[in-house]
C-alpha cells in the first residue's frame, strides 16, 4: 500500500526503467523530495541531477529528448514555473518528448507556505501549444496513468501531483486510463461537479450529502485537462444543465476555465468555479488549507444549492 503520491511516482518510474532502456530521470536537487532518487537506485547511470537550476533542467531534458532519450523531469511544480519560457520556447515549440512531473503542487506542501504552493501551474502549462496537462487524483490514478503517459504518449506532458497527502479517492472506481478522457465517477441529473486532484475527494463527499437532500449529482474526474474530453463535457452539460468545478488551483485559467471554454462553445449552462484566489499560506496540514480557502464539501454543497436556487428562480420569471 503506497501512502504518498510522490512515492507512487518514484515507484512507477523505477519500475518503467527496466522496460524502457531509453528512460532517463532528471532533477534539480530535489531528487529526494520528488522521489526521483528511487529511479537512481536502480539505474544510476540514467539519472541526472543538474543542481538547483530549473531553466537548465528543462533545456537539458529537451536536448536529451532531441538526441533520442525519453526524459522525465521531476521537480517542484512551483519552481518549474520559472522555466515556463524554456518549456514554451524549446520543449513546446520543438514538440519534444519531455515528460514534466511537477510535485508539491497545490496545497500539498502545506508547511512551506505561499512560496512553495503552486496554484497557477495548470493555467501556465495549459496555454502552451503541444503541451498536455494531466492531474491524477490519488495513488491509484498515478498507477493507472503514469506508465501509459511515459510509454505511449509522444510529445510534452505536464503531470501535476502533490507531495504526500493522498486520500483514497478512485480505488473503488473501475476504469483504465486513456489519454484525453474524463471519467464519470458518479452519475446524476441535477448538477455536475467536475474536479481533478485530491480535492476530488470533497466533490464526492458533497455528492453524497446532496443525495441526502434529494439532489442527483454527477461527479467527473477530469484527470486529463488537456487534451480535454469535449464529448463527455458536452453530454454532461446537456444532461445536468449546471456545472460546478472544484480545483486546488487559482480559479483563473485552471480547471474551471478549461471546462468553461468547452461548455460555452458547445452547450452553455450556468457554472460556478470553486478554487483559490490568492497565494496560499503555511498550515499544519492540507485540510487546514482546504478549510481556509473554502475547498470543502460544505462549501460545494452550499454553492450547488445556490446554483440550483438560481435556476429555480429564473424558471419562475
Amino acid at each position: 500500500m503506497i501512502e504518498s503520491v510522490r512515492d507512487a511516482v518514484g515507484m512507477v518510474l523505477s519500475e518503467l526503467g527496466s522496460e524502457l532502456d531509453d528512460l532517463v530521470v532528471v532533477t534539480a536537487d530535489v531528487g529526494r523530495a520528488t522521489r526521483a532518487y528511487m529511479f537512481s537506485r536502480r539505474y544510476p547511470s540514467r539519472y541526472f541531477n543538474v543542481g538547483i537550476a530549473e531553466q537548465h533542467l528543462v533545456n537539458f531534458a529537451a536536448g536529451l529528448a532531441a538526441a533520442g532519450a525519453r526524459p522525465v523531469v521531476c521537480a517542484f511544480s512551483m519552481f518549474l514555473m520559472r522555466a515556463w519560457e524554456q518549456i514554451r520556447n524549446t520543449v513546446g515549440r520543438m514538440n519534444l518528448n519531455v515528460k514534466i512531473v511537477g510535485t508539491h503542487a497545490g496545497f500539498s506542501d502545506y508547511a512551506d507556505g505561499s512560496s512553495h504552493q503552486s496554484l497557477e501551474d495548470i493555467a501556465l502549462m495549459r496555454t502552451i501549444h503541444n503541451m498536455s496537462v494531466v492531474v491524477p487524483a490519488d495513488v491509484k490514478d498515478v498507477l493507472r496513468s503514469l506508465p501509459a503517459i511515459v510509454k505511449d504518449v509522444r510529445g510534452p506532458v505536464y503531470y501535476r501531483v502533490g507531495r504526500d497527502y493522498t486520500p483514497s479517492i478512485t480505488d473503488n472506481y473501475d476504469y483504465e486510463y486513456e489519454f484525453g478522457r474524463a471519467y464519470v465517477l458518479e452519475e446524476g441529473y441535477d448538477i455536475a461537479i467536475i474536479s481533478a486532484g485530491p480535492v476530488l475527494l470533497e466533490s464526492l463527499i458533497a455528492a453524497k450529502e446532496l443525495k441526502k437532500l434529494g439532489v442527483s449529482t454527477t461527479v467527473v474526474n477530469l484527470i486529463n485537462i488537456k487534451p480535454i474530453d469535449e464529448v463527455l463535457l458536452e453530454s454532461i452539460a446537456r444532461r445536468c444543465g449546471r456545472i460546478i468545478t472544484v480545483e486546488e488551483h487559482t480559479i483563473y485559467g485552471g480547471i474551471g476555465s478549461a471546462v468553461a471554454e468547452v461548455v460555452i462553445q458547445k452547450y452553455p449552462v450556468p457554472m460556478k468555479f470553486i478554487g483559490v484566489v490568492g497565494y496560499g499560506r503555511s498550515a499544519k496540514n492540507v485540510k487546514e488549507l482546504w478549510d481556509y480557502y473554502g475547498l470543502r464539501s460544505e462549501v460545494i454543497v452550499k454553492t450547488v444549492l445556490e446554483l440550483l436556487k438560481l435556476d429555480v428562480d429564473s424558471d419562475r420569471t
Binding site: A53, Q55, A65
Partner: protein, 221 residues
Amino acid sequence: MGSTLSCIEILTVLITKYVRRGSDKLNRDWLILSKGHAAPALYTLLAEVGIIPKEELVKIQSINSILQGHPDISIPGVDMSTGSLGQGLSFAVGIATWIKFKGGYGRVYVVMGDGEQDEGEVWEAMTNAVHRGLDNLLVIIDVNDYQLDGRTAEVKPKHYMPLIWRVVGWEVFICDGHDVVSLINSIDNALGCRRPSVIFARTVRGRGLKPIEGTELQRVE
C-alpha cells in the same frame, strides 16, 4: 545584420569543415546557433552547402518562406529552434550527455553571443557541462563587444568571462574570429581536449559592411 557578419567566418569554418551531417542522432554532429539572431549567417551557409535553396535566402521573414527570423527546426539543417538567448548551451549539454552515454561519436557545436553571457541559464549549463565531463562539446563565443543596448563594456562588462569559464573547468581558447586559420587552429586544439572547450572568438560587429562596421547599427540606413 551586425551580429550576422561578426560570426560568418565562425559558421563558415564549422559548417564547411567540421560539422558531420547524417540521420543517426548519436553518430553525427549537431550545430546549435544559440545566438539565433544571426540566423541569416546560418541560412547563407546552409544554402552554400546545398541544404536549402539559395533563392530562398532573399525571401527570409516572408510569410510563405521557410526561413524564419530566428532558426526553427522546420528549416532543413537547423538542429534547434532558438531566438530566446541563453538556452542553446543547456540543450547542447543534454544532447552531448546522451551521445556520450550511448557511446556515439557525435559532437555538439554551440555558437553563442557575448551579450548572451548575461543570461543566468548560461551559468547553470556551463557548470553542469564540466560536471558531466563533456569532451564532445565545443562552444564558440562570438565576442563582437556589442549587445542590444550598446557596447558590452557599458551595458555589462564581460572581460572576465574567459577567466570564469576557465575556473569552472573549461578548456579556454582565444582566437581571431575573422581569421579562418586562427579559428581552425583553435578548433583543432579544442577537439583534442578531454574536457568541454570554449573558444572566445574576437570579432567586429558588422564586419565587411563599412558603414556599420564596429558600431551598434543593424543595417545601412
